[in-house]
């Protein structure tokens, strides 16, 4: 995981956005297109997010790999949105 100590927040946001709006498991290739990064970089992000318990990767019987948001990932998404909301609205976050 060299170079993934501090991943780009925007790429993570795009992946989380894609999964949240899909409202269920999403084909890995579709998610890669939505995240707007190349396959290698996307794989590293996916691995990082899987390691943090934010997403789960399922290898289905139809040989398509699907990615889903875990309960922990959905809660993290909600918290992050709430936190940024406060910042945009000019309030002291967490107060």
């Amino acid at each position: 995981m060299a170079g993934m100590d501090r991943p780009d927040l925007y790429v993570i946001a795009r992946i989380l956005d894609g999964l949240w709006h899909a409202n269920g498991p999403m084909l890995r290739t579709h998610l890669q297109v939505a995240s707007n990064v190349n396959y290698d970089i996307f794989s590293r992000y996916l691995e990082w997010m899987q390691g943090k318990g934010l997403v789960s990767v399922e290898d289905a019987s139809d040989s398509h790999v699907r990615v889903a948001l875990t309960a922990q990932g959905a809660e993290a998404y909600r918290k992050v949105v709430q936190w940024i909301n406060e910042v945009v609205r000019g309030r002291a976050p967490g107060a």
Partner: protein
């Protein structure tokens, strides 16, 4: 009296605006819950809302606005409305009220704003109030948070875009005014410097050429410098409007943005700049804007009277000139003091924003890392 009749009538309309706060609803829910609920209902239906402690400011169109006051009363929480105007609306009303016969146009604009705002309060807000019992908390889910956050980002970006566009128009207006003054000075001055048959035609040609050159070159420079910023802010406002509409409806527009969190992250980065643009606009602070306008208008009028009315006794003319110059100095002092305050606020905001940016980054990594 006839000249100032328009201004007086406008004053009557404005006093009526401030004093009349008709009631829209009474509920047993707490004022805080009502404000939160009503703000969400308005945002979810695509309206531009600014939340304050005890009221909501809603923008209706480029001139009209509405203030919804929420206070505790003897029978429960009262929701009242007050007709208001946007900064552009205030500018049109106050400036036209102060310029002689234009005061009558100001009355018409005030009444137009009044009736639009009243109709919005009774029809749109009234309908929203009847949807569900007031004070029902908005669903505490991600979609609600996204609608609220994107709506706020849209409001900030649109305000910044409008302020920047208005600043460009103001600069061009000042340049045109300067060009007219230049024309008058050259037209009157050159025939004195060059007496003879050629003095007048030469003066006219030189005055016209220099005034047109100043207006065209100045306006081009202002346009070239301002347009990229204006375009960028306009695109941002459109992007957030589309994203908010998508999150509120759940149906993406073809080719429209989908990334709610990503756009919110960008909004968090940009919100400091949007606030800065808004703060730098003089009409954002209506009191300062109005004081500067009064000093400028009163000062230039008094100086012109003192200089031009040669049938008046000399001490009176000197008095008029001294008053006019004092008012113009007052204008200069007001602008200087306003700019100093803006600079201080910018520095404070930058320091505060840097601290918040670091806190934001640290908190996000903490949340994402579990």
């Amino acid at each position: 009296m006839i000249v100032f009749g328009g201004a007086l009538l406008t004053l009557v309309v404005l006093v009526a605006w401030f004093l009349r706060k008709p009631i829209l609803a009474v509920t047993s829910a707490s004022p805080e819950a009502v404000i939160r609920d009503l703000a969400f209902r308005l945002r979810a239906t695509g309206h531009w809302v600014k939340e304050r402690e005890d009221r909501l400011d809603v923008r209706i169109d480029s001139l009209s606005a509405l203030r919804i006051h929420v206070h505790g009363g003897p029978n429960g929480t009262e929701v009242r409305y007050e007709v208001s105007a946007t900064p552009s609306g205030w500018t049109v009303v106050l400036v036209s009220a102060g310029v002689g016969y234009f005061g009558y146009a100001s009355v018409l604009v005030s009444l137009l704003i009044h009736f639009r705002s009243r109709r919005f309060a009774r029809d749109t807000v009234g309908q929203l109030l009847r949807l569900a019992p007031l004070g029902t908390p908005p669903p505490a889910d991600v979609r609600t948070l996204l609608v609220v956050g994107l709506s706020e980002a849209e409001r900030l970006a649109t305000e910044a875009f409008e302020y920047e566009r208005e600043a460009k128009q103001n600069r061009i207006g000042i340049l045109l005014f300067g060009a007219v003054i230049l024309w008058a000075v050259v037209f009157a001055g050159l025939p004195i410097l060059l007496p003879g048959p050629l003095g007048l035609p030469l003066g006219t040609a030189a005055a016209t050429a220099s005034a047109v050159a100043l207006a065209v070159a100045g306006a081009s420079i202002v346009t070239v410098r301002s347009n990229p910023r204006i375009r960028e802010l306009q695109q941002e406002a459109g992007l957030y409007a589309a994203a908010r509409a998508f999150e509120a409806s759940g149906f993406p527009a073809p080719g429209g943005p989908r990334g709610g969190l990503e756009l919110l992250l960008r909004a968090a980065e940009r919100s400091s700049y949007w606030r800065e643009v808004r703060r730098r606009h003089m009409w954002h602070d209506p009191v300062t804007g109005f004081v500067v306008f009064l000093f400028a208008y009163g000062g230039s009028l008094t100086v012109a009277l003192g200089a031009g009315m040669d049938f008046l006794p000399l001490p009176l003319r000197v008095g008029l000139l001294a008053t006019g110059v004092t008012m113009l100095l007052g204008m200069w002092w007001s602008i200087r003091s306003w700019r100093r305050d803006v600079r201080k606020e910018d520095e404070r905001d930058r320091a505060d924003w840097e601290a918040r940016r670091q806190a934001l980054s640290a908190e996000l990594w903490k949340i994402l890392s579990g």
